[in-house]
């Protein structure tokens, strides 16, 4: 074999360096284990002057922030996107799954929204409520101690509210609402919709000596150079290195497969070094997969052997199945009362200061699960696209649209900050028929067979999107505002976004007690190979109307503790 093997045998090889991989790296290395972290993208440190985009002005770039090279604008921190040259994926049966990948140390934690919500007991056992999907084999009390530890280690602002389905934690204090958020609070009150301070992982108050305190530039999506927001590099991997952990970081290293021995146990991984385009082997006693739900499924399915003919961990043929993303819908409103604003710095934290958790009883509704409401608006920094159709809103005031000359300057100022937007992010039902699998006809530029997606929404998600629209329209009208754009009807699934677009894809290696219907056990350990663990969102049985990251972190910590315990007992 031509694969270059390293002679080192690692205690643990961790594939991926995002939330799950970062947490495993920290906990396992601090327990004294020798760890290899294998990341498909380059090294990234938010405080590296050559990589910083935070506090840059649009005019520092000739394209003024346009999204030509990065999906969320060129100052967004993510290297990668929905489409990566040389790394295609395909679709089946007219599916439109969008797959976002960040190729960099820290992965998508460098640019994510930092909305950090705990799952509740109901979220873990929702089948008991409505008979749909599957229950998790664990409940809130299993995860709670880890949520507590994550809160204290990483920092999350919020408020104690005593809501049953929004468990409280150890919160840093929240930032005060912005002006449009005060409008939102009043509007929601009229419709009996609750609003509470957001729960997000920015450091609004000092949490340790390694992290800065938020200076309110509103640019968490660019990743914070003083480490005042959570990303896996700045908050987990770098501190673990600083604490003396034995960590070998392999970057630009694309893992192809997990290698196994005669007994079917993992022996290491094979990766392609993107720099010399050659294959390398790493040996390890334990393999922890944290490549993201879909990438981990791909690695498992591509790790075929005599012992694992359907792919590693796939004797159940469940790997790749039950893929599900959050539902997404949105609406923008023009609020005349917010015209002609006095300007001041209201950047705040990157994202909303207030939000609405799911507030209704599904028994009285025609769909199964809930959604939360995110709010945006305000006096944001102009970037490419600002001022397009500068006076389109004249239509609502019965004035002429178009023209040129200094009247445009007045129009731009008149409407600056007069918009408010809502995003609904909800729970979909995990279904066996929604899956990713290996496309037998296509490989990427590294010769690795690619994923093919099969995904259709059901009426549960469509009707939930319809409910979002009705709610958002009411909220906009409560503020005396006008809905912008057409409201998509039934033919357009009521504006329900394509699966994958919310970037909360989970469920591809789901957790369960029965090896016939699940891929990992309640400690995220493969049923089929006891020295392989999965700490990304693949093991999620259901995703709740919450963002998955805080649960990924808590479960990765719990699994890492379990690995240490099992090593001590010499069980693996």
């Amino acid at each position: 074999m031509q694969i270059k093997e390293s002679s080192t045998i690692y205690d643990v090889i961790i594939v991926g360096s995002g939330a799950g991989g970062g947490m495993a790296t920290k906990v396992l290395s601090e327990a004294g284990l020798k760890v290899a972290v294998v990341e498909a993208g380059p090294f990234f440190d938010p405080k590296n002057p050559e990589q910083i985009t935070q506090l840059k002005w649009p005019y520092e770039s000739p394209r003024r922030g346009a999204s030509t090279t990065r999906a969320f604008g060129e100052y967004d921190a993510a290297y990668g996107g929905w489409h990566i040259d040389g790394e295609p994926y395909t679709q089946k049966n007219g599916s439109k799954f969008s797959w976002f990948r960040s190729r960099m140390l820290g992965g998508r934690t460098n640019h994510w929204g930092r909305i950090s919500l705990r799952f509740s007991e109901r979220d873990f056992k929702h089948k008991d409520v409505d008979g749909l999907g599957e229950n998790w084999p664990i409940g809130y009390e299993d995860v709670r101690p880890y949520y507590d530890k994550v809160d204290k280690l990483i920092g999350v602002f919020g408020s104690k509210e005593g809501l049953e389905n929004e468990p409280d934690g150890f919160f840093l204090p929240a930032p005060k609402p912005r002006l449009h958020e005060l409008y939102y609070i009043d509007s929601a009150k009229k419709s009996n919709i609750p609003v509470i301070p957001s729960r997000m992982s920015m450091v609004t108050k000092k949490i340790n000596e390694d992290r800065g305190v938020c200076f309110y530039c509103g640019q968490c999506g660019r990743s914070c150079q003083i480490y005042a927001d959570f990303s896996a590099g700045s908050c987990l991997i770098f501190p673990a290195q600083k604490n003396g952990g034995q960590i070998d970081l392999f970057v630009n290293a694309m893992v192809r497969e997990v290698t196994t021995n005669e007994e079917g146990k993992a022996t290491g991984v094979v990766y392609i070094n993107k720099e010399d385009r050659k294959e390398y082997g790493l040996k390890g006693k334990i393999v922890v997969l944290a490549a993201s739900a879909c990438s981990t499924a791909r690695i498992l399915l591509n790790s075929k052997s005599k012992q694992h003919p359907a792919g590693l961990g796939n004797s159940s043929e469940v790997v790749g199945k039950y893929l599900h993303d959050s539902t997404g819908g949105g609406m923008t409103g023009f609020i005349p009362d917010l015209m002609n604003r006095k300007t001041y710095n209201e950047d705040g934290v990157g994202g909303m200061h207030v939000y609405t958790p799911w507030w209704l009883d599904n028994k009285k509704l025609d769909f199964a699960r809930g959604y939360h409401i995110e709010i945006w608006g305000g006096l944001g920094m102009p970037s490419y696209g600002f001022g397009f159709n500068p006076n389109a809103l004249n239509e609502f005031l019965g004035e002429k649209v178009g023209g040129y000359g200094n009247v445009l300057r007045e129009d731009v100022k008149k409407y600056y900050g007069a918009m408010i937007g809502f995003a609904g992010r909800g729970e979909s039902i995990a279904m066996e028929s929604n899956y990713c699998e290996i496309d037998p006809n296509k490989v990427d530029e590294f010769g690795i067979p690619v994923l093919r997606f099969n995904y259709q929404w059901s009426d549960h998600e469509r009707l939930q999107a319809k409910h979002m629209q009705e709610t958002f329209e009411e909220l906009i009208h409560n503020m005396g505002g006008h809905v912008l754009g057409d409201i998509p009807g039934k033919d357009k699934d009521y504006g329900l976004l394509n699966p994958g677009e919310i970037i909360h894809e989970v469920g591809t290696t789901r957790m369960g007690n029965d090896p016939k219907t699940s891929v990992v056990n309640k400690y995220e350990q493969l049923h089929d190979a006891d020295n392989v663990f999965i700490v990304d969102a693949g093991p999620f049985v259901s995703q709740a109307d919450k963002n998955p990251t805080w649960t990924i972190l808590a479960l990765a910590w719990r699994t890492s503790d379990y690995i240490i315990d099992q090593l001590k007992k010499q069980n693996i």
């Binding site: 005019y59 770039s61 000739p62 030509t68 002006l179 301070p197 000092k206 001041y344 001022g387 500068p390």
Partner: protein, 235 residues
């Protein structure tokens, strides 16, 4: 330390690694050792090697010829002319921005180039002069006919003008001058402590004291967070 001065020096201060900002309200002294270091490097705006290469390649190319650039200069200055306080869109460098965007987003090329040619054809036919050399009144007469697009079926001339107007307005308001003109005050380290009182008053809004009690006391932001066992913040 005067927070405002220190922030200003970060923005204007050139290459200066490790400038300190303090995180406290204006007028209060920061506690010793509680400062945050910022790396400011004006040479970079976070491009990967591949992205740098693409920008270099695009900048080495020239799409519009000299005549087209001159016509764009006239057009952009008609769309956003100078005021007593601020220069025109052309003064703010918008034609160069449009030149770059035409290379960055190639689907802009034909509509922009074709539209500029249409301006000349129209002007030649009506006034016997290229658009850039016509009188200001003649130029405006041409623009008046295409600057108010039909909502349902805009003509190609109207679509061309809308595209140039969009690029001109976005180019201007993403320039240094344009951002100042707009009055955007952010993109700088600060301490958010709520909407200014006069703004609240103007909009008839107020902060609910119960809500504010859940919010950060910015005078204690640099005091290490500690909780009791119930998750109540005690510092």
């Amino acid at each position: 330390m005067d927070r405002r001065k220190s922030i200003k020096s970060i923005i204007l201060g050139g290459v200066a690694g490790g400038l300190a900002i303090n995180g406290c309200k204006p007028g209060t002294e920061p506690e010793a050792g509680k400062e945050e270091a910022l790396n400011v490097d004006e040479k970079h705006f976070g491009r990967t090697p591949e992205e740098k290469e693409l920008i270099k390649k695009l900048q080495a190319e020239q799409f519009f010829n000299e005549h087209e650039m001159a016509t764009l200069g006239v057009l952009c200055a008609l769309i956003l002319p100078a005021t007593d306080t601020y220069g025109s869109a052309t003064d703010a460098g918008v034609p160069d921005f449009i030149e770059f965007m035409a290379k960055d987003i190639p689907s802009y090329q034909t509509p922009l180039r074709g539209g500029l040619m249409w301006l000349d054809s129209k002007s030649n036919k009506e006034y016997g002069a290229e658009f850039k050399s016509a009188t200001a009144d003649q130029q405006k007469e041409i623009l008046d006919a295409i600057a108010y697009p039909d909502k349902e079926n805009p003509t190609y001339e109207q679509q061309f003008f809308s595209l140039v107007r969009n690029l001109t307005v976005t180019g201007y308001y993403t320039s240094k001058e344009g951002i100042e003109d707009l009055g955007y005050k952010g993109n700088s380290p600060n301490v958010w402590d709520g909407v200014p009182a006069d703004v609240l008053e103007k909009h008839g809004k107020s902060y609910d004291p119960e809500w504010v009690a859940k919010c950060v006391d910015q005078s204690k932001r640099n005091v290490m967070a500690e909780w009791d066992d119930e998750g109540n913040l005690i510092t």
